[in-house]
C-alpha cells in the first residue's frame, strides 16, 4: 500500500478510535494516571540529582581556583600551613584589587544543628574565611544583618542553611564545644553551595579549634580563566609547596559525582520498576480498547480498511495516551517539586548540602520519552491482536 494512502487510512481509523474514548474513559484514565505517576516519580527523583549538581556546579566558576594539599580529594582531608597560604596568594595569575590579592585561606569544620521540622541533628559546614572571601567567591551577598567582625565569635549563615536548620536567626547565640557563637547575618550565593554553609572569621575558627595558623584550602580568584594553567604550574614547580591546584568548578563537580550517580541510579531503578507496572496498565487498557472496539474494527476491515492501518492506529492511540501521561507527569513534577529546597549529606565532605530540586526541561523531555516508550510497549501486542481479529466472527459474534 502506498504510504500516503496508509497514512490517510490510519488517520481515519485513529480519529474514530479517539472518538470512542468517552465510552471507555475509565481504563484510558487509569493508563494515563499510571504513566503520569511513573514520569512524575522519575522526573522528581532525577530533579534531586539535577538540583544537587546545579548547586555544586554553581559553587565554583572557571576563574576561581582551589588549592589543597597534594593527594587530598576533599577539603576535609587537606592541610596547609599558613606560609603555604601566603605563597599561594603571591602566585602568578592571582587577581588583585585595591585591598590586595583576591585570596582566601579557609578552614572547614563540621558543627551540629537540628534540622527544622524533624529536629534531627545534622552536620553543617562552618567555614572560616579571610576578609577577601566575598570578593574571591564573587557571588555571596548579605541579605540580612551584617558581616561578622574580625576577631569575634560571630558567624553569618547562608540563606539555605538558615531555612533548613534551627537556631540561625540573626541575633541567636549557639554554643559548640563550649564556645558561644552569635549569628549576625544571612547571605545568599545564587543558590550555590555556599548558601548551605556558615561563615566566620578564619582566625577565630583556627583559635577555637586549635589549628594554629593551618588551613585546609586556599581559594583564589584568577585574572582570567586562562590564567589557571600558569598558576597551577607555578605552584607545582615551587619546591616549598606540596599542593595541588584545581579549578573550583572541577572540584565541586567531582564532589557531586558520587551522590549524583547514586540518586540518578535510584531514579532510574524506581522508574523502571514503576514503568513495568505502567506498561501492564497500558497493555490492559489497550487490550480492553481493542476488545471493546472489535466490532468497529471488523466493520472497518470489512469495508476495506487494511489491517496495517488498524495496527498503526492502535499504536497511535497508545502513543497518545503515553504523551498525555508523560506531559501530565512532567508538569505535575514541575509544579510540585521544582524549587523545593532540601538538605542532604554529601558523604564526600560529611556535611549537609542544601540544594533545590531542579525540574529541567531536559528531565521533562526524558520523562515524556519514557512515557511514549511505555505507551508503545503497551500498545504493541494489542495492536497485533486487533489486526488478527477474525472479521467474519467479530461481525456476527457481537
Amino acid at each position: 500500500m502506498r504510504p500516503l494512502r496508509l497514512l490517510h487510512q490510519v488517520g481515519v481509523v485513529t480519529q474514530l478510535s479517539l472518538r470512542t474514548i468517552p465510552q471507555r474513559l475509565a481504563p484510558v484514565l487509569v493508563a494515563i494516571v499510571g504513566m503520569a505517576g511513573v514520569v512524575g516519580v522519575f522526573v522528581a527523583v532525577l530533579s534531586i540529582a539535577e538540583g544537587f549538581r546545579d548547586t555544586m556546579d554553581s559553587a565554583g566558576s572557571a576563574e576561581v581556583a582551589m588549592v589543597m594539599r597534594a593527594g587530598s580529594d576533599t577539603e576535609m582531608s587537606s592541610f596547609l600551613r599558613g606560609e603555604d597560604a601566603r605563597l599561594v596568594a603571591d602566585a602568578p595569575g592571582v587577581a588583585h584589587d585595591a585591598r590586595g590579592a583576591l585570596s582566601s585561606a579557609e578552614l572547614f569544620v563540621v558543627v551540629d544543628l537540628p534540622k527544622k521540622g524533624s529536629g534531627t541533628p545534622a552536620n553543617v559546614p562552618l567555614r572560616g574565611v579571610q576578609e577577601a572571601a566575598f570578593r574571591v567567591h564573587g557571588k555571596p551577598r548579605m541579605i540580612e544583618g551584617r558581616i561578622f567582625e574580625r576577631g569575634r565569635n560571630e558567624l553569618i549563615a547562608g540563606a539555605a542553611a538558615a531555612a533548613q536548620f534551627d537556631g540561625l536567626d540573626v541575633g541567636t547565640t549557639i554554643t559548640w564545644n563550649g564556645n558561644p557563637w552569635t549569628v549576625v547575618g544571612v547571605f545568599t550565593a545564587d543558590s550555590g553551595l555556599a548558601e548551605g554553609e556558615l561563615w566566620c572569621d578564619l582566625r577565630v575558627l583556627q583559635g577555637l579549634y586549635r589549628r594554629g595558623n593551618s588551613v585546609q584550602s586556599v581559594t583564589v580568584r584568577l585574572d582570567s580563566p586562562e590564567a589557571f594553567e600558569a598558576f597551577k604550574s607555578a605552584l607545582h614547580d615551587d619546591p616549598r609547596l606540596n599542593v595541588k591546584a584545581l579549578r573550583a568548578s572541577d572540584y565541586y563537580a567531582q564532589q557531586s559525582q558520587a551522590l549524583v550517580a547514586i540518586i540518578t541510579g535510584l531514579g532510574y531503578l524506581v522508574a523502571l520498576m514503576m514503568a513495568v507496572g505502567a506498561v501492564f496498565g497500558a497493555l490492559n487498557t489497550m487490550y480492553s480498547a481493542v476488545a471493546s472496539r472489535a466490532r468497529e474494527i471488523a466493520i472497518l476491515r470489512a469495508l476495506g480498511f487494511s489491517a496495517l492501518a488498524v495496527v498503526v492506529s492502535v499504536l497511535v492511540e497508545a502513543f497518545l495516551i503515553g504523551l498525555v501521561g508523560g506531559i501530565t507527569g512532567g508538569l505535575g513534577a514541575y509544579l510540585l517539586f521544582n524549587g523545593y529546597q532540601a538538605a542532604t549529606l554529601n558523604f564526600q565532605s560529611f556535611s549537609q548540602v542544601v540544594f533545590t530540586f531542579a525540574v529541567t526541561s531536559s528531565l521533562v523531555q526524558q520523562g515524556i520519552a519514557c512515557a511514549l516508550l511505555m505507551g508503545l510497549a503497551g500498545g504493541l501486542f494489542p495492536a497485533v491482536r486487533a489486526a488478527r481479529l477474525p472479521v467474519a466472527t467479530a461481525l456476527r459474534g457481537l
Binding site: H8, I299, A302, L303, G304, F305
Partner: protein, 229 residues
C-alpha cells in the same frame, strides 16, 4: 468465457474445534450471473453466511477457488483483498453494523474515505446514496436516533455509495418488523432491477427469499435444491 460475475468452484471450508473437525462447506460450486438477485436459504449451520463471507473476501476457503469478476480471491494478499472489497463489494448486515459515533452521512461516507475522491465528490455521492434509500432528511442523525429500518437503510446506502457490482446481504431483514422488512426488500429489488446490482442475500425468511430471482437451498455445506421465483 464464463460470463458469471461470481464463480464458486469446489469450495471447502473446514473449522476445527479442539479435535473435532467441522466441514461447513463441502465441495460447493455455484455461479451467479451479473445482475442476478440470489437468495441463499437453509437451516442454521448450513454454511450460508460462511459462503457469503468467502465470496466477500472476509474469510478464505480451506480448498477450492472463488472468482469474482476478474479476481481470483485466493491469489490476493490480505491488503489487496481489503482494497478489492472496498472497490467491488457492498456489505449489508443483519445488525446494520453502523458506527455509533458517526452520523448517518459519516457512516455512509466511510467507504469513500478509501478512494481518491475529494470532499465535494464524496458529499455528492453520500447525498445520492441517502436519496436512493429515502433518508436524505436523516443525514445528520446518529444511529441511536434512527429506527431499525432506518439504520438498515443507512447500511444499504453505505453499501451502495462506492457503486459496487456486488451486494452481499446477511439476513438484511432479520432484525426488522414486517413493514420495515418489506421496505428494505423493495429497496433491494429496486437496486437489482433498476441499478443492475448483483445481490446475494442470505435469509431464513421465505417471504424475503420470494423477492429474489433465484433461491438456492443449502444443507450441511452443500446445495440441496434450487427454486426460481
Amino acid at each position: 468465457m464464463n460470463d458469471a460475475l461470481v464463480q464458486v468452484r469446489e469450495v471447502h471450508k473446514v473449522y476445527h474445534r479442539g479435535s473435532e473437525r467441522i466441514d461447513v462447506l463441502d465441495g460447493l460450486s455455484l455461479e451467479v450471473p451479473e445482475g442476478e438477485f440470489l437468495a441463499l436459504m437453509g437451516p442454521s449451520g448450513s454454511g450460508k453466511t460462511t459462503l457469503l463471507n468467502l465470496i466477500g473476501g472476509l474469510d478464505t476457503p480451506s480448498a477450492g477457488e472463488i472468482v469474482v469478476g476478474r479476481s481470483s480471491l485466493g491469489t490476493l494478499s490480505s491488503a489487496s483483498l481489503a482494497s478489492w472489497r472496498a472497490g467491488h463489494v457492498g456489505f449489508i448486515f443483519q445488525f446494520y453494523n453502523l458506527l455509533p459515533v458517526l452520523s448517518a452521512e459519516a457512516n455512509v461516507e466511510l467507504p469513500l474515505l478509501l478512494t481518491r475522491l475529494g470532499r465535494s465528490d464524496r458529499r455528492q455521492r453520500v447525498a445520492t446514496a441517502l436519496e436512493i434509500v429515502g433518508l436524505s432528511d436523516r443525514a445528520k442523525h446518529y444511529p441511536r436516533q434512527l429506527s431499525g429500518g432506518q439504520e438498515q437503510r443507512v447500511g444499504i446506502a453505505r453499501a451502495l455509495v462506492t457503486d459496487p457490482t456486488l451486494l452481499l446481504c446477511d439476513e438484511p431483514t432479520g432484525d426488522l418488523d414486517r413493514v420495515s422488512a418489506e421496505e428494505i426488500l423493495d429497496l433491494l429489488e429496486e437496486l437489482s432491477r433498476e441499478h443492475g446490482k448483483t445481490i446475494i442475500m442470505v435469509t431464513h425468511d421465505p417471504a424475503a427469499a420470494a423477492r429474489a430471482s433465484r433461491v438456492l437451498h443449502l444443507d450441511k455445506g452443500r446445495l440441496s435444491r434450487e427454486s426460481g421465483t
